[in-house]
């Protein structure tokens, strides 16, 4: 049995009839082809599937798709404005925060919530915010540096 929902994904309005028995993660990847959001554990531990739901970082593997009804979803594909990268994206490149890149989309989304709410987070606040995004490659240091760098950029503009 399908469920009718109205939602906004990456600033585009959708009115959809969806199967309720799927996660937002699955829906984004399989139904909308937004494969930037990654599937790493499906139990809300790794954070690779993090998207913003009404501006809040959530594990999309733990959101049932009808729960985006009347809400806004932002995925990594919606972060840049056209060809202009979000300062976080640019900083992740510049600071060497991207290694294998599988955790990167999730980390970018979590960091976005952090910087949207706190324009000048300190080291502990950054680490606390991104603790739900596991990264096996970087040891997190370059990611923390990138977030600090992006926050500086954002404050300038």
């Amino acid at each position: 049995m399908k469920v009718n929902i109205k939602t906004k994904i990456n600033n585009k309005v959708y009115e959809l009839s969806v199967s309720p028995n799927q996660t937002l993660l699955h829906f984004l990847r399989e139904e909308l082809g937004l494969t930037g959001t990654k599937c790493g554990c499906e139990i809300g531990e790794c954070g690779a599937c993090t998207v913003l739901l009404n501006g809040k970082a959530v594990n999309s593997c733990l959101v049932l798709v009808p729960q985006i009804h009347n809400k806004e979803v932002l995925t990594v594909e919606g972060l840049a404005e056209g060809d202009v990268l979000h300062p976080l994206q640019k900083a992740f490149i510049d600071y060497g925060a991207v290694h294998c890149g599988f955790c990167t989309p999730g980390l970018l989304m979590t960091s976005k919530e952090l910087l949207d709410e706190n324009s000048e987070p300190d080291e502990v606040e950054i680490r606390t915010a991104i603790a739900g995004n596991l990264c096996r490659c970087t040891g997190y240091i370059q990611i923390v540096e990138a977030i600090k760098g992006a926050s500086k950029e954002l404050r300038k503009s």
Partner: protein, 782 residues
């Protein structure tokens, strides 16, 4: 000698980063094609059992199911293996561990495929299970393959061990144990296999070592190598882990694709991944050293049992590195080392970052601190006293004739954090229940494959007619940055900027077999080949330039995307104009570079020879806070110093330093894949605990550069060295804080507080566990 490089040594951005921050990078699971089927694997029900009967008839009848296959459907070789060909693509008559595949399903949807698995009926006759390598080595143990579970015995014999112990004033004997470690690449395994126009198969997947996977797929399907094309998708981490497990997935998907004539996609869930994939070997290590009162070492007798699990995999090579490096970088005239790899009914074990070194370094570096205390020296003194210098002869009889920078990395690291003073201060009594400690560990490590086997690689540099450049290589990138290094090297040689270069993901049909991308050999092998390839193109370009300008080749140079006059610096033509001219003249702008490593040698009987063509040296220092009332350890400061030869890209080198330390911290404190009676307990990241951003400290990185002629621009290895000494540094720091020594990893809450592990029998991984079984001790759900 400081060269004036434009690109080498600079923190150039990774060439693959843009795609990764925008979500455009395509990982294996991101590939989809029309009419694809979904493949799923039925895995074993018992860790060791005879298969009496497999009935697939009910599954075949399920609507939407297009194929149900078992081992008998494999037309060619049913087994594979790098060294010993005994790993089943699908178990035929016997399962040997719980991750063994028994049957395959291809269906229109994942859900149908999963439902079909439940309809396959397998009749088993359970066999006795053996899970401890020392038990398994016993003649009476149940046999896993053939009539002996001990399938590897590497030896090193140097001097006279009896004489060495006779000369000793103290003899110290200790036992150390390490755990199974899951690679924990964030991206679970995935492939998409399609029948190809040549009657073969084309596979895109998360494969680390494409050529070995291709060999096995071809053998399984009775195809020549040219009809099996494997393309590497952007790889979401590997750390040595996406080798055999991907080979079997490639074979299975290819088999399903050829049987159904349709594309087949296979993706492991995290639980399937952890259940089936191979792990880092647990080692049981017996170290017996003879020392003199002055701290010199007269004898080292070492016996190691490596748990090989159900299949041979890389065990022969992993344990070989262990036997070569088991004594550490320390002088000792009399050495007797025996390393055994033993089959058990556990997950098979294979390559993982470090490759046999993290285990032995834990033992060696613990021993060094133990002997230091015995003779009243500090950890730095004992290592400086016994550590190798240029000209040293290793346990395997190799003379180290390169710049042996062990003491340089030791002293630089120690100075950075004021090691000796802190060590002395923390050693004296501390009042608070939270105590500080500092610990040190160092290592030497053979670069690349060494005497393991053929060591050569190829890279292609192809300048396009508009002056843009494509680089491709048999060396693969899995996130470590190999492609960026190869592009930087090509850019340096061609005098162009990085934005002109695109790196093509490795495709077995388009680049030559370059061996596996393992052993921290990416930059040294692929990079050297890139340098040679670019030099070929450069030489053609300059000769065309000379014809074009009338200048002598000697005075021409390529710089900043221009052809210049070296003397005046005048720009004579743009790189694009030069490329166009070259094309017009019909000259090739395609360079293929090949690099074969310098000769190594090995005498297996005595364990003597030139094991590796060069070595790297590193030191880690950990400063910890130990909560002596709970056993909780926090790493609060860290120094990592490594001689990398030359940093091709400082930023990626630092990335390796940091990532290596974090993984080493997990090894030391948190991570443990437990298998009880053949049944894994941790199958997802709620129970298998990786360090988070809150657990990993900032790292003070010290990049030491002593150029080595064996690598491009003097570069050596860095990927694995960074991961092999963090755990012993942490454990030594815990001792400094508490006076309690940890002999078994990880140093978790219970071990630090009580000195031993607590096990709850029968506790299972989250997947199999029913909620009702959950009691207070095993609270798994948030």
């Amino acid at each position: 000698m400081e060269q004036n490089y434009k690109i080498i040594g600079k923190p150039e951005s990774r060439v693959d980063a843009l795609g990764k921050v925008t979500g455009k990078a395509k990982f294996a699971e991101d590939y989809n094609v029309a009419h694809q089927l979904y493949g799923k694997v039925l895995r074993a029900k018992h860790p060791h059992a005879k298969i009496l009967k497999i009935d697939t008839s009910k599954a075949e009848k399920l609507p939407g199911v297009e194929a149900v296959l078992t081992a008998k459907d494999i037309p060619g070789s049913k087994v594979f293996g790098i060294v010993v060909q005994n790993q089943a693509i699908l178990a035929e008559d016997r399962v040997r561990y719980l991750g063994d595949g028994v049957a395959l399903v291809a269906a229109k949807t994942k859900e149908i495929a999963e439902e079909a698995l439940e309809l396959i009926e397998v009749e088993y006759e359970p066999l006795p299970v053996v899970t401890d390598p020392e038990d398994a080595a016993h003649p009476d143990a149940p046999k896993i393959h053939g009539d002996d579970n001990v399938f590897v015995h590497h030896k090193v014999r140097k001097g006279d061990i009896e004489k060495g112990f006779a000369e000793a004033e103290f003899i110290i004997e200790k036992k150390f144990k390490t755990q199974f470690i899951e690679h924990s690449y964030l991206e679970p395994e995935a492939v998409l296999a399609e029948p190809s126009e040549h009657g073969g198969v084309r596979i895109i997947g998360s494969v680390q070592n494409l050529f070995s996977s291709r060999r096995s797929v071809a053998a399984a399907l009775n195809l020549p190598l040219n009809k099996v094309q494997i393309i590497q998708a952007t790889l979401g981490g590997s750390f040595g882990g996406k080798d055999e497990v991907m080979t079997s997935m490639c074979c299975r998907a290819a088999l399903l694709a050829l049987k159904t004539g349709k594309p087949v996609k296979m993706v492991n869930t995290r639980e399937e991944s952890m259940l089936e994939s191979y792990k880092r070997h647990p080692y049981t290590m017996y170290y017996k050293w003879g020392i003199k009162k002055d701290g010199s070492i007269t004898a080292m007798e070492i016996k190691i049992y490596a748990d090989g699990g159900a299949y041979a995999s890389m065990s022969p090579f992993v344990t070989w590195r262990s036997v070569v490096q088991a004594t550490g970088p320390y002088y000792c005239e009399n050495v007797k080392t025996d390393v055994y790899a033993v089959y058990t009914n556990n997950n098979y074990t294979g390559a993982m970052r470090g490759f046999g070194s993290p285990q032995v370094n834990f033992a060696i570096e613990s021993m060094m601190d133990i002997i230091a205390e015995k003779v009243g020296k500090d950890p730095l003194e004992i290592r400086l006293q016994n550590g190798f210098e240029r000209g040293a002869i290793t346990a395997t009889g190799q003379t180290l004739d390169h710049n042996v920078s062990l003491k340089e990395v030791l002293t630089k690291a120690a100075k950075e954090i004021d090691f000796q003073n802190k060590w002395r201060q923390y050693k004296s009594a501390q009042d608070s229940p939270i105590r500080r400690g500092i610990g040190l560990a160092c290592s030497y490590r053979g670069v690349s494959l060494g005497a393991e086997g053929t060591d050569a690689a190829g890279t292609i540099v192809s300048v396009q007619t508009d002056g843009s450049v494509i680089v491709s290589s048999g060396i693969t990138d899995m996130g470590q940055g190999a492609q960026t290094q190869m592009c930087q090297i090509a850019a340096e040689v061609l005098g162009i900027t990085m934005d002109r270069i695109v790196f093509l993901n490795t495709n077995t049909s388009r680049v030559p077999d370059s061996g596996p991308t393992v052993a921290s050999r990416g930059t040294i092998m692929g990079g050297y080949a890139a340098k040679r390839a670019a030099e070929i193109v450069r030489s053609t370009l300059l000769s065309v330039a000379s014809e074009m300008t009338g200048y002598d080749v000697q005075v021409l140079d390529l710089k900043d995307n221009y052809l210049i006059d070296k003397d005046s610096g005048e720009r004579l033509a743009s790189f694009s104009e030069l490329a166009a001219e070259c094309f017009k003249k019909g000259r090739p702008m395609y360079g293929f570079g090949w690099y074969k490593s310098p000769q190594t040698s090995w005498d297996e009987e005595h364990g003597q020879g030139i094991a590796y063509f060069t070595f790297v040296y590193g030191t880690n220092i950990a400063e910890v806070e130990v909560d002596t009332e709970t056993g909780k350890v926090n790493v609060v400061d860290f120094v990592s110093a490594h001689d990398v030869g030359r940093a091709i890209n400082r930023q990626t080198v630092l990335g390796q330093f940091y990532g290596g330390v974090a993984m080493g911290l997990g090894y030391g404190l948190l991570e443990e894949f437990e298998i009880e009676d053949g049944i894994p307990k941790q199958l997802n990241f709620d129970e298998y605990l990786l360090p988070t951003a809150m657990d990993v400290p900032n790292v003070r990185a010290i990049i030491v550069e002593n150029e080595d002629s064996t690598g491009p621009f003097g570069a050596k290895s860095i990927g694995e060295p960074t991961n092999e000494i963090a755990a012993p540094a942490i454990v030594n720091a815990i001792y400094n804080a508490t006076g309690k020594r940890i002999y078994e990893l990880p140093a978790n809450l219970e071990r630090v507080l009580l000195g031993h592990k607590l096990t709850r029998k029968g506790e299972r991984g989250s997947v199999q566990k029913e909620k009702e079984e959950l009691v207070i001790e095993s609270c798994k759900i948030k």
